[in-house]
């Protein structure tokens, strides 16, 4: 009765092939263009950080990778297979290899915290209630939350707590790929670092490939092998690439493109001038 976890897809796959390959991806919402000509590959076992100002399409990028959004043009290959060519069932089989932390956590609010975290275990494994409870407790401890919230509903938690429950839920099945949408936003500095450490330790425990969307340069520097910076399309000329930085995380401050270095240092001067010009018109 269950969709039993498919381990088969891993051993057929060629381990040298990049796990995620985006080619010429374009995403539009009606007349609004959000992503254009995105070519991006993510190799197995690596962590990629995606930065960029608010509204530039980072969340849209993650949702396109997991197949929640279909690209208007271009293709997304996961483990060599084009997502657009998979049937509903095959797509489901691929999706349970992912863990997705939503920006607003997206917890099921009719369920308790325990049921939220254990959801995919109940759906896709044959584990008994006790076993599931043990996994849930372990995940909860990893994200630094007390046991007494297990019986509560998401509405009774603070925003930061919800975010961490979302993280625990995404990690429950020990996915091969983790997509984190701003994992540390809304957390205090200490808790942010706990989450950074968690991302690192998850990677040490088993070979996980991760994409971390973040505004937090500390997180990007600490967890990522590579950083990609997206630039909002409306402020880009037609011939400029949308990815304006793609390289190691430790040299990003010295990037030649001053849009990148300003973003990383958090300097708003040029942006302010631009905004004044727009308003003055």
């Amino acid at each position: 009765m269950k969709i039993v976890m498919v381990a088969t897809a891993t051993h057929i796959s060629d381990s040298r092939r990049p796990l995620i390959q985006m080619e010429g991806v374009k995403v539009d919402f009606g007349r609004q263009h959000v992503l254009r000509d995105i070519d991006l590959t993510v190799s197995r076992g690596k962590t990629l950080a995606v930065i960029g100002e608010s509204g530039c399409g980072k969340t849209v990028l993650l949702k396109t990778i997991i197949g929640l959004l279909r690209p208007t043009r271009g293709s997304v290959r996961f483990d060599g297979r084009n997502l657009a060519e998979l049937s509903e069932r095959e797509l489901t089989g691929q999706r349970i290899r992912f863990g997705f932390l939503f920006q607003q956590a997206a917890l099921f609010d009719s369920m308790t915290i325990a049921q939220n975290i254990g959801f995919s275990l109940r759906q896709h494994t044959n584990k008994g209630a006790n076993e599931i409870r043990n996994v849930v407790l372990a995940r909860l401890a990893e994200v630094g939350l007390p046991e007494n919230i297990l019986g509560k509903k998401p509405a009774e938690l603070s925003g930061g707590m919800r975010k961490r429950v979302g993280l625990a839920r995404a990690l429950a099945l020990e996915p091969e790929i983790m997509l984190y949408d701003e994992p540390t936003t809304g957390l205090d500095p200490i808790m942010s670092d706990v989450i950074n450490e968690l991302i690192l330790s998850t990677r040490r425990q088993h070979p996980v490939t991760s994409i971390v969307v973040t505004h937090d340069m500390r997180t990007a520097r600490k967890v990522a092998d590579r950083v990609v910076m997206l630039y909002p399309l409306p402020r880009l000329r037609a011939d400029e690439p949308q990815i304006i930085y793609d390289g190691p995380s430790d040299r990003i401050e010295q990037a030649a493109d001053n849009r990148v270095s300003q973003f990383v240092r958090g300097e708003a001067r040029e942006r302010l001038m631009e905004m004044r010009q727009l308003n003055g018109r």
């Binding site: 997991i66 279909r70 999706r95 939503f102 607003q104 997206a106 995919s120 759906q123």
Partner: protein, 292 residues
């Protein structure tokens, strides 16, 4: 269900000016509305087919079905019973004077019970279900859509139609007959009480006439129709919820449109099924007793 960003309908505004331009614009607008409407119809048809498909493939688990059944069935009983009783009594109040003027008081039972069992019971139960359960389902699923919970289900490998729609559909389909029978029963009882105890109509004639004219087929017609109403309510409510517009406003609109569309659909189905079933009835029993 994936949100598909690709659908884009170009707006073919005319380059004409003056009255001709206005006319062309009007035709273009009308065409646009028509196209939207057809697309909507196609989407809801696909949505229903996918729901029916899951019914054949794999049923949801008990834990997801039971809470929905409780909400839909058990919690709706009181309000259905109450409104049923009142409708029965109101019918007596309304018809009594006219029937007395024609000296047909004794036939009152036949007419009232017939309309209760065939029409008012099922329509009333369905309306109550649409108002109480349909709009709540649309609002709940709409909230889930807006707060990305439906997307979260998808990423966790659960099919939202199977997980969210099928239990609600089954609940409405399987429990609306019970609600209809409840409405029928309470309506018949309320009417009898009012007619016999408050208006003093002779109970023997009232009951005899009812028994003579209202048969099992009439009861069956009512319950049979209710199945269609239940299915329509569930599909419309879930569809409105799944296609909810962003924000609190979108959720509110999903809830109200779910009710309005369900109500219109209930009346439309009632008319069509009424015509069809009457045809069947007189084909099967050409000698059936007629009221007058």
């Amino acid at each position: 269900m994936e949100t598909n960003p690709t659908s884009e309908i170009r707006d073919p505004r005319s380059a004409f000016g003056g009255p001709l331009g206005a006319a062309v614009d009007w035709i273009a607008d009308f065409g646009g509305v028509l196209i939207d409407w057809l697309i909507g119809l196609g989407n809801i048809a696909t949505f229903s087919l996918r729901t029916f498909g899951w019914l054949l493939v794999r049923l949801p688990r008990k834990e997801t079905i039971l809470p929905n059944f409780y909400q839909i069935g058990v919690l709706s009983l009181p309000v259905v019973a109450l409104t049923g009783t009142f409708i029965g009594m109101v019918l007596v109040v309304q018809s009594y004077v006219q029937f007395r003027n024609m000296h047909l008081e004794a036939k009152l039972g036949a007419v009232i019970n017939m309309s209760l069992v065939r029409e008012l019971g099922p329509v009333l139960a369905a309306t109550m279900l649409a108002g109480r359960v349909g709009s709540a389902m649309a609002a709940e699923l709409g909230t889930m859509r807006v707060t990305e919970q439906i997307d979260a289900l998808v990423t966790m490998g659960a099919n939202p139609i199977h997980y969210l729609v099928v239990p609600r559909f089954l609940g409405c389909l399987m429990l609306i007959p019970a609600l209809t029978i409840m409405a029928d029963f309470m309506g018949v009882a309320g009417a009898f009480f009012y007619a016999v105890y408050l208006l003093g109509i002779d109970s023997h004639h009232y009951l005899e006439n009812s028994r003579h004219f209202v048969g099992n087929f009439d009861l069956f017609v009512g319950v049979f129709k209710s199945l269609f109403f239940g299915a329509a309510i569930a599909i419309i409510a879930c569809y409105r919820g799944f296609n909810c517009d962003p924000g609190a406003e979108g959720v509110g609109r999903a809830a109200t449109t779910a009710f309005v569309y369900s109500f219109v659909m209930i009346l439309l189905l009632d008319l069509l099924l009424g015509i069809a079933l009457d045809g069947i009835y007189y084909a099967l029993w050409p000698e059936a007793p007629k009221l007058f």
